[in-house]
């Protein structure tokens, strides 16, 4: 019934090692176990993992993610603070995109320059 660690790994794109690591540091809370002690992930765990990987891929540090995860565990009284964390992070992501876009322009310029020089 539960989802094995291999399956969770396949679906989340994280290695089994990383899944255990995430649990150990508190990013995922107490995954259920089958009778022989093996992890049995739920769909809800996978949805949470999916969100976590998005935070990661946008550059949120593990420590901040842990903070967020802890608030989530503490329940509905923490939504305002969670929202603030996400808003602050969103701002960083926007800044990051702006900077990348700017640097992309420089890259275009350099590449054009090489192309022109070669054509000469």
């Amino acid at each position: 019934m539960g989802i094995t660690i291999q399956e969770a790994s396949r679906r989340s794109g994280l290695s089994a090692h990383t899944l255990r690591y995430y649990e150990r540091i508190g990013l995922i809370h107490e995954v259920e176990r089958d009778p022989s002690g093996h992890r049995a992930y739920t769909e809800s765990d996978l949805a949470w993992l999916d969100f976590l990987t998005r935070l990661r891929s946008t550059g949120m540090p593990i420590a901040d993610m842990c903070r967020y995860a802890e608030l989530r565990r503490r329940g509905p009284g923490t939504t305002a603070e969670r929202r603030r964390i996400l808003e602050a992070h969103r701002e960083r992501v926007r800044t990051r995109i702006a900077r990348l876009t700017e640097d992309l322009g420089i890259l275009d310029y350099k590449i054009d320059f090489y192309a022109t020089t070669e054509a000469r």
Copy 2:
């Protein structure tokens, strides 16, 4: 006449430690010295540093930057390869921006959700 390491640090945004490190690994080539052996950077060094920091900030690994720096040192016969490196990198940057933009949408959605829940 030459620019001191402190000045180069201030203008590049890199620490003096990092400037020496970059030179040691070959990212910057043989910075000139004043009579007492202290580094004397040129405007051209600073322009190059500026470009390097852009490559870094767009996520190019140090190893790739070293490769690029070496081609540059080898002279004008290597422009085609340098262009290819930049083009490949540009593609990665574009992908990265696309991914970030997508994740930004998820972040917006989550934040809206919290805002709505709180307002209820």
